[in-house]
Symmetry: C2
Subunit: 297 residues, 2 copies
């Protein structure tokens, strides 16, 4: 019964092929770890890797990747559409098979402590691994971004969980945590007006009265000249992908806009997608466990 954990580190570099290749090579260098997906976005200026492996392998690869990011990404010169506070911005651990959330929390704590001590980057623990309620939400930790961190960390409220309360000069700070699987999902709009994406994001996200398990921001995709609603669906059983999509369509209508395409960042569980098929096909009496052949073989 091999324990399998997913790790989806986000790096604040989505343009420089040389750096992205170094990250990919590092990600592929650890036995027992598979690199399942690479999503590099130049507008976001961010690369998201999806890794699956044993807890030991995942810890090793997370440390190697953090070192690689620290040595190759200089946040003091980085600009991009996606908010960021570190060269490696966030490292979540997700229980996939034969492993509990408690074990993923322990893995986050262990990895976070090692990053601070060996790589000199201050670490905040977040979500399930958070040391206080205030630090559960990644957006709250990241508020102020890289440029605001030096000042923010002076406050006792924002003393890091590990390391000194001073951002690494080039690599900033990193959030390390454990969480349930989430869906990172973006919808591209038929407009280059970023204010429309911002207004739609505000309408659909939980923090301003939208869908309870939806986080959303507007982002400008410069290379396609399109505005994008960039989302995290943190409980796709309760806030389905199609619900977010249909709400975006409804909000976009008032601006004469529509969705021109969507994208998954990383992987999605089959059920999250089949829930959408069930909705759009208007399936009656459908039972995921029973009616999907793959669940029986």
């Amino acid at each position: 019964m091999t324990k399998i954990v997913e790790c989806i580190p986000n790096f604040s570099e989505g343009r420089c092929k040389n750096t992205i290749d170094k990250l990919i090579n590092t990600a592929q260098s650890v036995p027992g770890v598979s690199l399942l997906d690479v999503n590099a976005d130049p507008s976001h200026n961010r690369t998201v890797l999806t890794l699956l492996g044993t807890p030991e392998g995942i810890k090793t690869v997370a440390l190697s990747l953090t070192k690689c990011a620290r040595d190759n990404i200089d946040l003091s010169h980085q600009v991009g559409e996606h908010p960021r506070m570190g060269a490696v911005d966030v490292i979540p651990f997700v229980p996939i098979k034969n492993i509990s959330m408690a074990e993923c929390i322990a893995l986050a704590i262990d990895t976070g402590r090692t990053i601070a001590h060996e790589l000199d980057i201050p670490v905040y623990l977040y979500e399930e691994a958070a040391s206080t309620q205030r630090r559960r939400n990644l957006a709250a930790i990241r508020k102020g971004q890289y440029e605001g961190m030096a000042k923010k960390m002076q406050s006792p409220l924002w003393k890091p969980d590990y390391g000194h309360p001073v951002p690494h000069p080039t690599a900033g700070v990193v959030a390390v945590g454990a969480r349930q699987p989430l869906l990172a999902f973006n919808a591209n709009l038929s407009t280059s007006d970023i204010t429309i994406a911002n207004k739609i994001a505000k309408k659909i996200r939980a923090s301003s009265g939208g869908l309870k398990y939806c986080k959303a921001i507007g982002i400008m995709l410069k290379e396609r000249n399109l505005a994008q609603v960039s989302m995290n669906l943190v409980d796709y059983q309760k806030t389905s992908i199609y619900t977010a999509v249909e709400l975006i369509k409804a909000e976009a209508k008032r601006f004469g806009a529509h969705i021109v395409g969507t994208e998954l960042v990383g992987l999605a569980p089959a059920k999250a997608l089949i829930d959408c098929a069930e909705y759009y096909l208007q399936l009656e009496n459908f039972d995921y466990q029973r009616h999907v052949l793959d669940n029986h073989i």
Copy 2:
């Protein structure tokens, strides 16, 4: 490496609970065979069982079910919306895991021969197991239905593959075959006018110029007072569920009708449903193997 075959026998009884229960009990009586789904439809007057098991187990259960159908269903009194020629109308074998189509053809031949010899029901082999091109298509074999079989079988063209060229007096004839997985999928319309379902079925099915891998007929669902387009999608990689659904919607519009709900009869592979999610969500750069988490664990 256990060989797994799927068998989806169709019985011409969808109303009498007593008979359906006997079929279910028989289906559950063989070790190594799982009954995954029971779809009994009173308007169709048909019950479709979905079974998964080893080739040996599946042969045993197919014979037991055929005997049970022969002894409990009298086609000389049966009426229903779905075309039929036998108490057990059709018995397909589908390769699922560690088994080839050739092995499923051999299983169909072996089972068909035994049904004719031990249960006295004439057998046609169909689809991949067919003895001639003319017998590949189930609809061609069934044309004339139960009532027309006695005459049809006199023709040398329609001499059965096994058994005497005379239908069993109550159980008729049965088609036994091997085939790729298909999707049995029905769409219910917002009308009780069966002629609309018939016209739509004609437009979407291959035989009259519609979708190449779609078979379709109109059926009246008396218990809901709705007309239904009842389909087999025989290659869902090439003719997707959503393609059939969108074409039905387009055709229904001219009659001021729409789809009120759909139904899977039996099971569907995850990919067939996720293809629909990909379409309706407008996913860009989606790769089923890579982006579905379940394919990696």
